[in-house]
Structures are given as C-alpha cells and as structure tokens.
C-alpha cells in the first residue's frame, strides 16, 4: 500500500498544536511507516504540494499570507482538518476582533506604545510583512473544512484518534471529554 500524503500548515497560531503533535512520541515512528509528511513547518519544503490526502491546519486566518495558503491547501488536499482552537473558532488569535481596525492596533504596538520598539509601522506594500485582515477568521469561514479537532492545544491522544480515523478514511469521532475547547 502506498503511503498517505499528509501535510500540516501553521497559520496564525502559536505552534502549540504542532508541539502537541510531537508529543505523540514513539507513535510518530509508527506514523512515519504509514504517511509521507509532504509539507510542514517541521519539514523543509518551500511550496505546498499537489495531491495531498490529509492536511492539518493549525491557526486562524489573520493575514493575506494565511488566506492564500489556506486556499491553496484546500485546492490541493482531499481532506482538510481544522487543527486546534485557533483554526476551529479563532481562539486567542481572534481576540483582536472586538478592538476593530487592525491598523490602529499595529500603530498602538509599533508607533504609539510607551516602549516604541520600532518607531515605524510595518509596511505590507513592500511585500515583506503580509497585511492583516480586518477580522481574524476561523478556517471554516474561508474554505470547506472536513473535520474539527478542538483543543488548545488538542492533546496528543486527540490527535492520534483523529489521524488514525482519517487515515482509515473515516470521519473522526471524539468522545465528549476529548472534544472540549481550551
């Protein structure tokens, strides 16, 4: 049997979900017999590949880079999973939403704060820093999501149950105590 092509992406999140993935410890060795990790923050691959079977999406959609990558992920993946609370509902990444205009927030942090670290604003137009979206979005508001894996971060146990189900072509069924937010 050929190996499943699995990818993980890191949008606006803290990478805690990926850290939790690494908490799968020795099961990762078993997993490596079953899957090829074709794209991930922990794999040195520059462009998101074609024909991916399962992609785990960590993080919310907060800027234009996140938005483009998630759309690419959807086009090139059979199954897309919202991996962790930021992808699922925005979580801490979306806490800026009630504060309104992200331009004001950036000005507050970079220009007007007491400890003016930079004194000037990051300029999205020079292409180095992506522009912030007006509102941080959960993944399912941008593309169709096939499965949700809540938790901040989802425990290794949750991740294993979900990944095993997905590799078997099933939709993951988490017990109530394993699908709590937070």
């Amino acid at each position: 049997m050929s190996k499943a092509r699995v990818a993980t992406v890191w949008l606006a999140g803290c990478s805690g979900c990926h850290m939790s993935f690494l908490d799968l410890d020795e099961w990762l060795i078993e997993l490596s017999q079953l899957v090829d990790l074709v794209y991930s923050p922990i794999a040195d691959v520059k462009a998101f590949p074609e024909n991916v079977d399962v992609t785990l999406v960590e993080g919310a959609v907060a800027n234009t880079d996140n938005l483009e990558l998630l759309k690419e992920v959807r086009e090139r993946s059979k199954v897309v999973v919202a991996f962790g609370d930021c992808a699922v509902h925005g979580n801490t990444s979306a806490m800026r939403n009630p504060l309104g205009d992200p331009g004001e927030l950036v000005a507050e942090a970079y220009r007007d704060a007491v400890t003016k670290l930079h004194g000037e604003l990051p300029n999205p137009e020079n292409g180095v820093v992506p522009a912030l979206l007006p509102r941080v979005l959960p993944a399912h508001e941008v593309v169709h999501i096939d499965a949700f894996l809540p938790g901040c971060p989802p425990s290794a146990e949750r991740i294993r149950i979900a990944v095993e189900a997905l590799l078997a072509g099933e939709s993951p069924e988490l017990a109530p105590e394993l699908r709590r937010f937070g």
């Binding site: 801490t92 939403n97 009630p98 959960p138 399912h140 109530p176 709590r180 937010f181 937070g182």
Partner: protein
C-alpha cells in the same frame, strides 16, 4: 397531597405536584442540560437548553419551568432536541468571546462542558463582536460581559439569597449586559455587600475573583444551593418547635 406519576425517557417517576419536570428527572438519573437553572434560586427558563418534548404538546417545553402532571410522557434526548441544543450553544459561543484557553473558568465552565457533551466542535455563526467592556471597578471581583450568557443566576442569587438586589440586566440583544445599581460601576454600587454569591453561581468565567488566572476558578457553584437548603432545613426545625 396525592402524588402524580409520569414517564421520563421511559422511566416511571413518582413526583409531587408543583415539582418541575427537571426536578423529577434528576431523581431517576436523567440529567437535562441547562445553564440558567440552579437549585436555591427562582426559575426563569432563560437559556432554553433544557427543552424537552412532551407527548401531545406541539412545541418543546423547558423542563425547569414545566410542572409535572399526571400521565405526562416526556422525552429529554431526541434527535431534534440534540440538534436544537447544539444550535443554541453555537449561538452562545458566537455571541460572546469565549476563549476557553485564556479563561479563568477553563476546565470548570458549564458552557464549555455542555458544548463538549452536545458535540459543538465549531460555531457556524459570526455576528460582529460587541464592544462591551469589562467592569473591574470592584476591589475583589470583575465582570466580563463577553463571557456572560445572561443566565441571570447572579441577579437571582443577589436578590433572593443575599437580599442585596445589586444586579440587573440592561441593553437589548447583543448589547445586553449586567449592571450594578442600575448602571454604576460595580465598585461604586452601594447595595453590593461583596458577598461573592454572584461570582460563585456564574456558569462561565464572566464573573471572577481578581487575582485568579487561567483555569484558577476556585469558588464553588453549589454555595448558594447549599445555603438555601440549610435555611429551609432550619426553618422546618423552627416550625417543629
């Protein structure tokens, strides 16, 4: 007074007239989900999570506010009710800023637990966030309206158990929020005795003790129910004397 017999999820239940369906259900081990109901304070039927189906009535009814009746046939966990509860919880999540990961009540939150039980794994609604701000004027406690589900347990505990009548609800729709003394900062509310009953009954992290961080909620929700049941026992003893 003669009792009544009814069926709840195919259990035969004997109940006293005046009891609610929810109270009768608990005795046969059927826990109907709910957020606003709390033993020891009055019933408001505000959260609509405890809706149950009663044979012969066209619409679901709130178990907490529906009195038992002879030969009633109640179902608490049908497909339609599960779907209804899921949508209600999704709307509660969408309406506030329920960021469990950074909440004082993480791990001790009734909303969080219910969402997991009912199977809410994301929310399909995204209204624009309200701009209500926190009230941190009280020296010991704080109120965050973005975590408030407007169950009014605190309003009732404050009025009915403490007798202070500090809390009320102001505003409509998404702008609805709690106000102390008709709209004063909590710290300046003269009626507040700082007893903390409101904080103890809060099902979420909307009311919290200052100085507690993520997952550090310590106060016991049963405090008010325990107080009222002790008072009832004590007044029954007085009558016997």
């Amino acid at each position: 007074m003669p009792g009544v017999s009814l069926r709840i999820d195919d259990n035969e239940v004997d109940a006293s007239p005046g009891e609610s369906v929810m109270q009768a259900a608990v005795r046969v081990g059927v826990k109907v989900p709910g957020l606003c109901q709390m033993d020891g304070v009055s019933v408001v039927g505000a959260c609509r999570l405890c809706m149950v189906e009663v044979a012969g009535t066209p619409r679901p009814r709130p178990a907490c506010a529906t009195p038992v009746a002879e030969a009633m046939d109640v179902h608490t966990d049908t497909e339609q009710l599960r779907e209804h509860r899921k949508v209600l919880l999704e709307m509660l999540f969408a309406e506030g800023q329920h960021v469990c990961a950074v909440c004082v009540a993480n791990g001790a939150c009734e909303l969080q637990t219910l969402a997991a039980q009912v199977g809410v794994d994301h929310a399909n609604f995204t209204p624009p966030p309200s701009r209500l701000t926190m009230d941190l004027s009280h020296p010991r406690f704080g109120y965050d309206p973005s975590r408030c589900v407007l169950c009014t347990r605190c309003v009732r505990a404050c009025a009915e158990v403490e007798g202070a009548f500090t809390w009320g609800v102001a505003g409509r729709g998404r702008e609805a929020h709690l106000v102390a003394d008709l709209g004063r900062p909590w710290g300046e509310a003269e009626s507040c005795t700082s007893c903390g009953k409101c904080v103890s009954v809060c099902p979420t992290g909307a009311m919290f003790e200052k100085g507690t961080s993520v997952g550090q909620r310590r106060v016991k929700r049963a405090l008010v129910s325990t107080l009222t049941s002790r008072r009832e026992r004590e007044s029954a003893r007085e009558v016997l004397k």
